[in-house]
Symmetry: C2
Subunit: 419 residues, 2 copies
């Protein structure tokens, strides 16, 4: 029998009425002839409550106990979902991580999948059960302790089950109805994409379009799991939402698929750094140790007068989230005091934003960057930093121009028109 | 190393501050040289919330899913308690039922213990852990599903662990500071008992002194587990609370140890029932099927004119909780319509209460009943029904005299004076 994985996030199972709504969607797929594995999150707010209790009890908590506590929310939803399905005459049972078992590493709170043996669940399908409701976000370690997978872990659970059971598709039900060319709150011209490639989705996710957790997309890409993002609050059919898939499945695509942004970026520049081998490591090592998420990095080399002699010096510029500026400054100043790096000045600009265009079409089309810069120039938007990858071009600009820039780029690449 | 079991109920772990308070009591026992197994309930209100969700989702729920959901509360408390102990530098870890494992029958929601293997927890004690925090109320079935033990299950878990691990004592921390000769709200002369026998405690528990769950006392009696009931909201030492123990440990005891009562009783009388073999079964079978908890039963046989001929007839009187009267009436009338029983009339008195005196001393002392009836008569209290067991005498009286009767009996048996 063909098999689907359906995942419902916290807002989709926030109360009993919403669980019923989600269960009705599951029932429809069963009636279409599918066996279904349902992955559920905790009812929204529940995990945060548990995390809060743990933090208040023990600031430097034992991660094994943290996992034992915070996994409780998913167990509750799984049982309630199974009961709701049974009420609708759909043969269902709940599965906690250790019952499947979902074998993971012992890295508590950030565990990774080791294996998901199919035997137990397959046996229940063979006995006539149509639905296995699995508690997301959790697993069991080789030592028999409960583990959790970290933020967004239920998405990752869904993809892992789809891979393990060879599911036809993995449907991620959430509070948006798909992936858009850009944020509809910024331009009403934003258009829902019918399909998007894994690579593009990865770039969009890490850029702040927080619909799918990055790790789940990576996993889907690796195992070629077709992911569909769709709304749990709308009537949906097989054409709803956005399919995230291999680019081979996308027959026609534009050069650029979407415009992403990240609002609260800071730009930090170390002025007049000695240019020598290892200087980048000396700078970014301490930043990484301090937990600063450095994003774009630009280095300008010049000949300057440096500490009384003329030599190769450089200005090193990088971006990071605004709320990590203090931490970054502290790490850099400590490194200067320790003598591992030298610089004349540290210039910080906390009023930046990042805007990016993403598209697999860039690989085969030249001139995308020029078109982007032209569109920004024509609106008078100054570019502070540029960074590029194979399928993405990002610029750091003044935050006040962010919406304007997104709109201009959306127009310039004609994203409002269907491909 | 000597071992203690300490059990904390829902009000004793209602929030993080109370969990800290409970943990401090555990730490004190560890410092005295004990290994400790801590059994925890869910934070008060949590289990009711979960039970409510299940009932709303599925009125005739699958008990396996019910158990999977309602066991979540204890898991949360167990993790939080372990973390709190760790913060106090006490080496502790949490255990969920399946991790121990607490093997039970498959009778979901009313499961019974099959075995509690010591290996896993003993190994942790050997590795230097001082405390095992075990989620109460739950276990795991032979099929690997989560089970629960029914109401008061955490008390039962505590006693079962004390038996399995040969604990020196099982301390039940609750919101009262011991077992009293009677309810202190009814007479200020009520006195806390230092010791009480298992048998007496069983009679007091089933009569409405709801401090300890009946099954846990039965289990303690069978395995000779010394139980201590004490308050989690007071400073306690080794002499606090009330010890529930084998009667051999109680050197001196009074004829009567306590006066119990049950306020909302109803008396139902079937008038002129044909007296024939099997008539009691024909009456009480349907009542049991309807879930009516019949308590006292009295039958008066007489010769009467019955349906036109003189024969042996009887009046059958029984008591049950007031809120079950409608159900009882319905069951009896259905049986009459079906022709399985015949009676002239059903007389219902919903204004009754039950008062009982309990004491192992009754076994060797005559005249207790006479003394009881005299005390009631001197206050003008009329007795409706009398029932006796080896260590208990109960009477059904008008509810309005209940407090008066309890006070009179407490005085008559001089329970305010120490033995």
């Amino acid at each position: 029998m063909p098999l689907l994985v359906m995942k419902f996030g916290g807002t989709s199972v926030a109360d009993l009425a919403r669980i019923r709504n989600a269960a009705a969607k599951v029932k429809r797929e069963v009636e279409r002839g599918y066996d279904v594995i349902v992955i559920v999150s905790a009812m929204s707010g529940k995990t945060n409550e548990l995390v809060g209790w743990v933090g208040e009890t023990s600031p430097l908590y034992d991660a094994r106990e943290y996992d034992a506590v915070v996994s409780a929310g998913e167990n509750v939803t799984a049982g309630l979902m199974a009961l709701t399905l049974q009420e609708m005459d759909v043969p269902a049972r709940s599965w906690q991580g250790w019952q499947v078992p979902i074998n993971t590493t012992s890295a508590h709170s950030t565990a990774r999948f080791v294996s998901i043996p199919r035997d137990n669940i397959d046996q229940k399908f063979a006995e006539g059960f149509s639905v296995a409701v699995v508690a997301g976000f959790q697993g069991v370690s080789p030592e028999g302790r409960i583990t959790t997978l970290g933020r967004g872990g239920s998405d990752t659970t869904a993809v892992a089950f789809a891979a393990a059971f060879g599911a036809e598709r993995c449907d991620i039900y959430t509070d948006v109805n798909g992936i858009y060319t850009t944020d509809p709150r910024i331009t009403s011209k934003a258009r829902k994409l019918a399909k998007i490639s894994f690579e593009e989705m990865l770039e969009l996710a890490s850029l702040g379009a927080k619909v799918l957790q990055t790790r789940s997309v990576e996993l889907a890409m690796r195992y070629k799991v077709r992911l569909r993002v769709l709304s749990s609050f709308e009537d949906t059919d097989e054409t709803s939402g956005t399919l995230v898939c291999d680019e081979d499945e996308i027959m026609e695509s534009k050069v650029v698929s979407g415009v992403a942004y990240s609002r609260d970026e800071a730009k930090m520049t170390l002025v007049t750094v000695e240019d020598r081998p290892g200087i980048a490591a000396a700078i970014f090592g301490p930043l990484a140790d301090a937990g600063v998420n450095v994003d774009m990095i630009v280095q300008n080399i010049s000949e300057k007068d440096y500490e009384g002699h003329v030599g190769a010096v450089t200005d090193m510029t990088f971006s990071c989230p605004v709320d990590q500026v203090a931490r970054a400054r502290h790490a850099l100043e400590a490194a200067r005091e320790a003598g591992t790096i030298k610089y004349d000045d540290l210039v910080v600009d906390v009023d930046a934003a990042k805007v990016s265009v993403v598209g697999i079409g860039m690989r085969s089309h030249a001139g995308v960057a020029a078109r982007m810069f032209r569109a920004l120039a024509s609106e008078g938007v100054n570019i502070k930093v540029i960074a590029t990858s194979e399928i993405k071009i990002s610029v750091l600009i003044d935050r006040k121009y962010m919406e304007l820039a997104v709109q201009a780029l959306h127009d310039a690449f004609e994203l409002d028109a269907a491909p």
